[in-house]
Each structure stands twice: as structure tokens, then as C-alpha cells.
């Protein structure tokens, strides 16, 4: 995430404590879109992502004294958001899953057709991909976020997720295979995955 200098963040938080509306607007405008992007990658609902984002920023602004400036503000915010995401997951029945799609089966289809998106209009493709990402396991969604949104390298992303580098690479590979399979299914085609 793009971060403001830590001293500026602390200054803005102090001003927010003094009810300075301009300071809260400034900090909100910088971090809200980025935090929403992060949260939206971790949950499968726009409404939930919106709620968790605002909740997390509210906690950060309200408990401003807890931010000690030793880490980036975005890291601290993501920590707050992660707790809210966990709480939210406990409150929902179950994650959406891709029924009948198995990673082992997908592994057998290494030479599959990656041209599936050519059958979709540009706008449709983005929405269809997001819908399929929503059905991925959380670990795969998180891996996509750190590499595709934050542009983290292999070592940095695996450190962030606290997993071995091999696991991260596998998660990313499985994720795009699953998305492809999801898109093929959504298009009602019978091409793509060859089941062993």
C-alpha cells in the first residue's frame, strides 16, 4: 500500500483526536480505497468489505494512541482488518466454494486452454474473474492480493503470509487454474479441464 510518512500519520491522528475533520478526511482518503482493495480480496461480498473497511478505519481513528509508529500505518490497519475479517467469517455460514473442482484434477490439466477470456467482453471478463476469485480458498485469495495488487516478490509475499515460498507458488498456480475452470464452467463450455 502507498503510505504517508509515519510522522504525518501520527500528526493526523492527533488532530483527529482533537476532532479535526480535515485530518480525518485526509487520512481516510489515502487509506480507504487501498484497505477496501485488501479486504475485498479476503471476503467475497462488497457489502461485507465495505463494512469491514469502515469498521477498521473507525477503530484506527478512535484508538489512535495504540499506533506507536514502529510499523507502517497500512500494516497496522491490515492487522485490525484481519481481526474483523476473522470475526466476520465466524458469523457467516460458509465460504462459497467451487463445487466439483479439485486441485489434483486441475494439476493434470497443465496444458489447458488459457484463451478462455477471449470469449468475454473486456468489462465482463473483469467481473467474471472477480466472481471466480470470490470462490477461491482464503489462502489463494491472499496470495493473489500480495502479488497482483501489492506487487510483492516471492520472498516478501511468503514472509507476509508466513508460508514457504513453494507453498505460495503452488497457491498462485492453483488459484489461476481454479479461476480458469470457474470461467469455463460459467461460459457453459465443455472445453478446458480434462478429467483423469
Amino acid at each position: 500500500m502507498q503510505n504517508l510518512p509515519r510522522t504525518e500519520v501520527k500528526n493526523l491522528l492527533n488532530r483527529i483526536a482533537d476532532r479535526d475533520d480535515q485530518a480525518s478526511r485526509r487520512l481516510y482518503a489515502v487509506y480507504q480505497p487501498q484497505l477496501f482493495g485488501y479486504v475485498r480480496c479476503r471476503v467475497w461480498s462488497d457489502e461485507a468489505a465495505e463494512e469491514i473497511t469502515i469498521d477498521s478505519l473507525f477503530i484506527a481513528f478512535d484508538k489512535h494512541a495504540a499506533y506507536n509508529g514502529l510499523s507502517e500505518f497500512s500494516t497496522w490497519l491490515c492487522g485490525i482488518a484481519n481481526k474483523r475479517i476473522l470475526q466476520w467469517r465466524h458469523g457467516v455460514a460458509a465460504e462459497p466454494r467451487m463445487v466439483g473442482i479439485d486441485d489434483d484434477e486441475l494439476d493434470q490439466a497443465l496444458g489447458g486452454d488459457w484463451d478462455v477470456l477471449s470469449r468475454l467482453e473486456h468489462d465482463e471478463a473483469g467481473l467474471a474473474i472477480l466472481a471466480c476469485i470470490d470462490k477461491l480458498p482464503d489462502g489463494q485469495r491472499e496470495a493473489i492480493y500480495w502479488t497482483a495488487v501489492e506487487d510483492y516478490g516471492l520472498a516478501e509475499a511468503s514472509r507476509e503470509m508466513a508460508v514457504p515460498e513453494g507453498t505460495l507458488k503452488s497457491r498462485l498456480f492453483h488459484a489461476r487454474n481454479r479461476i480458469r475452470a470457474c470461467l469455463e464452467r460459467a461460459l457453459g463450455s465443455d472445453y478446458g479441464v480434462e478429467r483423469g
Binding site: S24, Q32, L57, L127, I144, G153, H174
Partner: protein, 207 residues
Amino acid sequence: MESSVVEKNTEEQRLRLLLPFYLNNTVAPAQRAEIDAWLATDAAARQELQFLRALTAAVRQPGSARAPLRGYEILAARLSAGRPALSWWRRLGTARWAPVTAMAALLLSVQLGWNYWRLPEPADGVVYRGVVARVARAADLKLVVRRDARFADLAELLARNGCHVVWGPSVSGELWVVLDEPATAEATRRQLARSPLIEDAMLLAAP
């Protein structure tokens, strides 16, 4: 399960696993060269990279397309609801009222500065609506003048001894005078008492 793909470790699979990092420009130059060579010869690999590009664009969309202040009013309302109401004088210091408070302080400063630099110095004595009323000094001596004394002789005597009439004469010939040199009041009194024009001279204040 997750490590099974890695274990295959075929050359092509090794490069395929690195594609997300090739796309975000974080692979080492040597690996980049290997992937470039693979992409140059494998159409399916190029399609897979294209697929990853579309995936990246899609996943970046929710954050990048979002209005910066969307939902801010909800947050602001929650923040203000969770705080006790400010007293009126503390509200003056909040951002909303700060310009008004600053303007009032500025105007007050200008007024005080104007008063200090432009208004006249306070005058000695009593001032009523800007007009200075000089207060007469309390008399130093009370003189009783002989009934046959000539005014011209009396005026000369008083002027010579530094005396100024502040009240009188009364019907019984009394004059109250102040002296140019109040410290010499007793000596002046004796001097005046010796004059044939003066019947009596009394000291009114201690020297």
C-alpha cells in the same frame, strides 16, 4: 497437496510457477531471461501470461476504482457519536470554528493595538468625555487681608512671594493661595505676615 506441483519440478512447470513474479517484475534477471525465452517459443505460455494480466487488472479494480471519500460520512457519524459533546469554549477550538475563533482573536488584537498606539496618553487629572478637568491644588496658605489694603499693592506682594489665589476673596477679606515653592511655605507665611497689607497668615498644610 500444495507441494505436489512443486515436486514435479519440470523445467516448464518451474517457469510457470514464476509467472506471477515475472508479471510484477520481481524475478531475478536470469529468471526473467529464461521466462522470456520460454514465452518466445510457447504460444500457450503467452496465453497464460495474458490470462494473468487480466486477472491482475481485475483484482486491482475494486481498490483503484473506489472514490477516496466513499463511506466517509458513516465513519464521521460514528466518530462523533462515540465522543462526549464539547463545551462551547472547546468547540471554538475545533476545525469548524477555528476560522471564526482566529478572526475574532485577530480583530481583538487589532483593536488592542489601535488603542495602544493611536489613542492619546491618559492625561493628568480627571477626564470627562475626553475633556481634561484640571484639579486645583489645595491651598498652602490662608491670608486675611486688611480692609484698607489696595489691590495693586496686594497683587504686587503676592506676585513677589510666588503666591496664586485659588479661592477668595471672601466677604471677610480671606484669600486662599498656593505657592510656587510649597516647601518654603513657612518662610513665605512669615514674610507675608510682616506685610502691613496682611492682617493674618496661616499655614494650611504641613511643609
